[in-house]
Amino acid sequence: MNIITVENISKKYVIRHQTNNFNTFRDVIGEKIKRLVGRGNDEGEREEFWALKDVSFDVKEGERVGIIGRNGAGKSTMLKLLSRITEPTEGRISIRGRVASLLEVGTGFHPELSGRENIFLNGAILGMKREEIKKKFDEIVDFAEVEKFLDTPVKRYSSGMYVRLAFAVAAHLEPEILMVDEVLAVGDAEFQKKCIGKMNDVSKAGRTILFVSHNMGAIEQLCSRTVVLRQGEKIFDGETQEGINIYLRKNEKVFSNEAEADLSNYPDRDSMGNTARINKIKLMSIAGQVTNEFKMGEDIAVEIETRFNETVKDPIFDLTVTNSIGQYISNIRSDWEGFHNHDSNGIVKTRIIFKNPPLTPGVYFLSPEVIRSITEGACLDIVHIPISFKILNNDITGFGSYTNWDSNKNINMHIKSDWS
């Protein structure tokens, strides 16, 4: 029996480009008067943007469906429509049953209020009745492990405690349909495990779950079925493992068979202003031969070219390594290695050598990033997974080639060990 039916849903956003920056007081006043009269640059440049186009799918009772896709694929918009936060431009959704949507943990938490007060406030915001919260109160406190600080304002909580409390409230909702967006991306590893466990319990109780995530590991564990979105369209709907493969292959299709990539027009990135832009990335052997296949243990040389449009004092360059199911493996950062490029301006080429990388055979992805400085931490440009490389098997120990005995486990690292 269908519990959710999504029919031909589309969502259009209108983006207004505001060109003037209100530099002088006169501009501000002038703009205000224009606004009040109803003119102004309101009708300036408008751009239409379809976050979702003609998406349809059904969810049956008790199903656990993952929604995956790159940034801007429309996942979050889909969830916002399903949870009635905004209305679709076209199409129709019908939902049977009580919905709880979790787009964020701790929505409406007030820093001045105590833990106890926030449990009630947050519960009410998430749609719990007061009786229900009272009944679950002890369980929530237990789960969050904050009993000692119940009457402390949450502004004095550590970020870990805050997140635990926030998730605990949400985890004790008892809806028939639960919609979750990326909330597992917060908290430490142990807590994440607890959260996934809790969500598994929820689903075992026969509830329907819709889960949006970048974390393929969590999707794999939790969802039996997956919908893959790309640029607002549904490109796959079916078994999770296949969905994840398609999602990753889509990335590969763009670039990853190349060892060299021009990133100047690469769409999947987050940039702050136009201060810096990563233009090129290239993978090479240590001998300088361009390749994206390396033997296990072999050094990997990476070259990135960044264009700085203004001078940035001592920026940090960063490469994030992710595995084939999207889990983070390593962060490789210039500042940790004592590399500094003071007063970066114009084209800056950086060459990085991964020394003796302890990666096991498989496919890995790289995401280059430029950060303004250690103190400010602002990300100037990050390019998501534009390039991949393959680690090939190699007898690095001299006792035969590496074998992953249990292919269900995702093993990415080889630690050299002495045995006696």
């Binding site: 915001i125 749609g127 028939e176």
Partner: protein, 276 residues
């Protein structure tokens, strides 16, 4: 497994037939939001409750001196301080609820963009704190009435009705402004102007009998004229003059503001998230 058989249909521009029932279903959220505002207000400020008294007292003193002593305006035979107090308290209620409700949606952007509920809950709950302030400030009135020996009559029973009218007046404007403020952030700069001029345009520091007879009906287009006259009438036991056609006109203006404000709010409510 499925207990509730209510089917929710999400469509563009859908008319929600059971809007009021749904709103009622969220009464606990309304209660918690109002409770949060009150708790936070009294936790954050040092003077706390005193603040709700200090503000009107300053206005009362200044207005009584300027309009009553310096300008020596007529007072309909009641102590000038009482005349001013009876107007300052409802005016303060009106101006704070207008300010709070106008900013309420933008201040709650975090919740609005993450959770669904009838958005009307937010401006509604923001007014509760203003009512609490108002209730506390009534102490000033009580003290002054005892001091000047003003004996209230049966008309006093109408005070809650005029309080309600004041709230409705501010809510009518507040509905418009809160929804407009989501799209045009400069609305919040207009409200302080309205509040600042409004206190002089409305008969707060003087009796509305000062206004020439022929202009009185026109003057009553300002919904606070009816409210303030009503307050004075109720407190002085009917001694001050209550101009009925004016009160009626004020009520009509308030009703128009409420209905159109609600319609505009409903129309824009579903896409607040896209612009907030």
């Amino acid at each position: 497994m499925i207990k509730s058989n209510n089917i929710v249909v999400i469509e563009p521009n859908k008319k929600l037939s059971n809007y009021w029932r749904e709103l009622w279903g969220y009464k606990e959220l309304f209660y918690y939001l109002a409770w949060r505002d009150i708790v936070v207000r009294y936790k954050q400020t040092v003077v706390g409750i005193a603040w709700s008294v200090v503000r009107p007292v300053i206005t009362i003193v200044v207005f009584s001196v300027i309009f009553g002593k310096v300008a020596a305006l007529p007072s309909e035979g009641i102590p000038y301080v009482i005349l001013v107090t009876a107007a300052t308290l409802p005016w303060q209620l009106f101006s704070t609820s207008l300010t709070e409700s106008t900013n309420s949606l933008v201040n709650s952007a975090g919740i609005i963009s993450k959770v669904y509920f009838p958005r009307l809950t937010i401006p509604l709950s923001s007014i509760v704190m203003c009512l609490v302030d108002f209730a506390i400030s009534l102490v000033i009135l009580a003290v002054l009435m005892i001091y000047y020996g003003v004996v209230p009559g049966i008309e006093m029973l109408m005070l809650p009705v005029f309080t309600l009218i004041a709230v409705l007046a501010s809510f009518g404007v507040g509905l418009w402004f809160s929804a407009l403020n989501v799209k045009y952030r400069d609305i919040k700069h207009i409200v302080p102007f309205i509040v600042q001029f409004g206190i002089y345009v409305s008969p707060v520091g003087f009796s509305s009998t000062v206004v020439p007879e022929k202009w009185r009906l026109l003057y009553s287009l300002n919904p606070m004229v009816g409210v303030i006259d009503g307050f004075r009438w109720a407190i002085t036991g009917g001694k001050s003059f209550l101009y009925m056609p004016g009160l009626f006109l004020s009520l009509v203006v308030i009703l128009v503001l409420l209905v159109t404000g609600f319609m505009y709010f409903r129309k824009t409510e579903r896409t607040f998230v896209d612009v907030i």
